[in-house]
């Protein structure tokens, strides 16, 4: 079945440093979504990318969707303590509808103030 892999599994940074997490799918994705889960919380939708090569920004966060629509990245510039949490990418099952998402294992980001 479809696999979505994320690296790194953990990342610890000093406040102010940049952070990047990478997501790779075993199959081509129609779209990719990113979610953030704070410790003890639930996943919260951040963004969806649909087009090949698409780049979207949300303040200090930059999201990219690969040209082949099989990989994606999330880059955070100048991390803050509020960025702490696990970042998940998720894509719909190949050939399936948008509803059935396969999530990666996530990247846990911790920030040292």
């Amino acid at each position: 079945g479809q696999q979505v892999m994320q690296i790194p599994q953990y990342q610890h940074v000093q406040e102010g440093e940049d952070f990047t997490t990478y997501c790779n799918s075993s199959t081509t994705l129609s779209n990719i979504q990113w979610y953030k889960q704070r410790p003890g919380g639930h996943p919260v939708f951040l963004i969806q990318l649909v087009k090949s090569g698409e780049v979207k920004k949300q303040k200090r966060l930059t999201f990219q969707f690969g040209e082949a629509k099989k990989n994606s990245s999330l880059h955070i510039t100048a991390t803050q303590t509020t960025d702490v949490g696990t970042y998940f990418c998720a894509g719909p099952e190949s050939g399936g509808s948008n509803y059935k998402l396969t999530f990666g294992k996530g990247t846990l980001l911790t920030v040292n103030p």
């Binding site: 979504q33 919380g41 919260v44 998720a90 509808s97 948008n98 509803y99 059935k100 998402l101 990666g104």
Partner: protein, 115 residues
């Protein structure tokens, strides 16, 4: 407005018992999903409802798991003869539709512990 509400927030049960987990989606959201999240893992799809019907239950691990949404709003996930391996956080999510540009809104989850 109110988000997705799940009750109970925690449930401890003995192996072999029956449990029910409840989800109250965001008002007006037609699509409802159940996911399961184990420690250190991403959410894993269980079942999807569009309206009252289970459109896709392919993620349910076995026939001990069943879910209903009788009136197209509140949903209940039912687990019979619970096993220790069922211990996880059960997340419910809803979305306005099941199409593109309709992100999932997750509830806080029910942490199920089977002893």
């Amino acid at each position: 407005g109110a988000g997705v509400s799940q009750t109970p927030s925690n449930k401890v049960t003995e192996k072999g018992k029956y449990v029910e987990l409840r989800c109250d989606p965001i008002s007006g959201h037609t699509a409802l999903y159940w996911y399961r999240q184990s420690l250190g893992q991403g959410p894993e799809f269980l079942i999807y409802f569009q309206g009252t019907g289970a459109a896709d239950d392919s993620g349910l691990p076995n026939d001990r798991f069943f879910a209903v949404r009788p009136e197209g709003s509140v949903s209940t996930l039912k687990i019979q003869r619970t096993e220790r391996g069922d211990s996880a956080v059960y997340l419910c999510a809803s979305s306005l539709t099941n199409g593109y540009n309709s992100p999932l809104h997750f509830g806080n989850g029910t942490r199920l512990t089977v002893t």
